[in-house]
């Protein structure tokens, strides 16, 4: 995986793609992926089979689902404004 990334990094660097733009785009890509993965994390964190009595308490749920909601809204806004 890292090997692939090194090759990709060298390639992109030699293509003279701006490193700043790449880094910025990778940040945006991470942002777009966050919403679905946040849902997964929240499901696992609240799963009694996995967590037993250590499932998320109320605060973690409020904050966690807020994060999920905000990322979802941000993602939708992104597609709405950029496409």
């Amino acid at each position: 995986m890292l090997g692939g990334a090194i090759v990709a990094g060298a390639l992109l660097d030699s293509l003279n793609v701006s490193a700043v733009r790449m880094m910025f785009l990778s940040a945006v890509l991470n942002g777009l992926l966050a919403a679905p993965l946040l849902v997964l994390v929240m499901l696992v964190g609240n799963n009694r089979k996995i967590m037993g009595r250590r499932v998320n308490d109320r605060w973690l749920n409020v904050l966690g689902w807020s994060a999920t909601g905000i990322m979802t809204v941000a993602t939708l806004l992104f597609f709405w404004t950029s496409l």
Partner: protein, 347 residues
């Protein structure tokens, strides 16, 4: 974090005791300020001034909660996030998540490597094409040939390097009153450039990769205490969970303090008129003082965007002189964090 580690935790100095509980959370916080993260803050600072500093305040509790949930999953289930999912959810669920993550992560590592290489080029004058494989192999070697315990210790100390951003922010003499107001009062715009920057900032802050990393690192932490099987690692005491919470919250606060500082450093540096002249492509952003004048399709390929990293060259002798080596050294924990779980992902 468990009975085995108890004796050396009993220091009478509360600061020492506190520092000993730090570990995975602190490192995750530092890894959050990776080159792509810092660059994104810098881009935000260049385009919108201090107008996006509020995201650091808003994202802090959210990010702390999410990372804490991930840490708890690791500590309680004794498996990484992917491992816990594999055991209890359909396979395709996990595979879909992993493929998405893998693509994003490879791209992220590649971008970070390119960013580090650029920074190294401006420091040494040696072409960046050489630095990409050098840094890549260095990180690869570090992740393969070191034990978790030693590696974690390096990472813990490397986080101190991030203070370079804090120092350089002070050297940049930002407008403190404006910065404070923008930190506390959220502003929103439906401009495409603003929204994509917002997604980028939130994406590097609440970064999917760090969910997996956090859980895996908690597992590694337990393994380093000699709990080799999932059964041994299963469950957690209140005491352990309290330590985990303290560690994660410290790391996230640290991370966002650095984030604010990095964002306010870049603004004066990037806005130098000299720089705008040198790269005509940057002019639309440099000359614009407001969000609305950034081109609508920015930062996508068809539109003008910055050619090189914003921190080098723009501020020789200024804040950049600390910023550059700092950025370079700070990249190491992030890259390492991103590549390390290749070893321990699904455990």
């Amino acid at each position: 974090m468990n009975a085995n580690a108890e004796p050396d935790k009993h220091s009478h100095n509360p600061l020492v005791r506190y520092f000993r509980t730090l570990g995975p959370g602190l490192v995750t916080g530092a890894a959050d300020d990776d080159p792509s993260g810092v660059t994104t803050y810098a881009v935000a600072g260049a385009a919108f001034g201090t107008g996006m500093l509020w995201t650091a305040v808003v994202s802090l509790p959210l990010m702390a909660a999410i990372q804490l949930i991930c840490a708890r999953i690791g500590v309680v289930s004794g498996r990484g996030l992917a491992g816990a999912m594999r055991a209890h959810y359909p396979r395709w669920f996990l595979y879909a998540a992993c493929v998405l993550l893998l693509v994003a992560n490879v791209f992220n590592i590649a971008a970070d490597l390119a960013g580090m290489a650029d920074a190294a080029e401006t420091l040494t004058g040696v072409t960046s094409g050489l630095w990409v494989p050098v840094f890549g192999l260095l990180v690869l070697a570090a992740t393969i040939y070191t034990s978790y315990a030693r590696f974690a210790l390096w990472l813990k100390w490397l986080t101190a390097v991030l203070f370079a951003y804090v120092i350089s922010a002070f050297l940049a003499h930002p407008n403190w009153a404006n910065a404070l107001r923008d930190t506390l009062v959220p502003r929103l715009s439906l401009d495409a450039a603003f929204v994509s920057t917002l997604v980028g900032i939130l994406g590097t802050t609440i970064s999917p990769y760090l969910f997996f990393w956090q859980a895996s690192q908690e597992v590694e932490e337990e393994r380093s205490l000699g709990r080799r099987t999932v059964r041994e690692r299963h469950g957690a005491t209140d005491h352990e969970l309290r330590d985990v919470r303290r560690d994660v919250v410290t790391g996230m606060v640290f991370s966002n303090v650095v984030m604010v500082r990095a964002a306010s450093t870049s603004r004066p540096a990037v806005r130098r008129p000299r720089r705008c002249g040198r790269w005509p492509a940057t002019r639309p952003i440099c000359s614009s003082r407001s969000a609305s004048s950034a081109p609508a399709s920015w930062p996508f390929p068809s539109s003008p965007a910055r050619r090189r990293t914003p921190w080098p060259k723009s501020s020789a002798g200024g804040p950049g002189s600390i910023f550059r080596p700092g950025a370079l050294a700070a990249s190491m924990p992030c890259l390492a964090v991103r590549s390390w779980p290749a070893r321990c992902w699904t455990r």
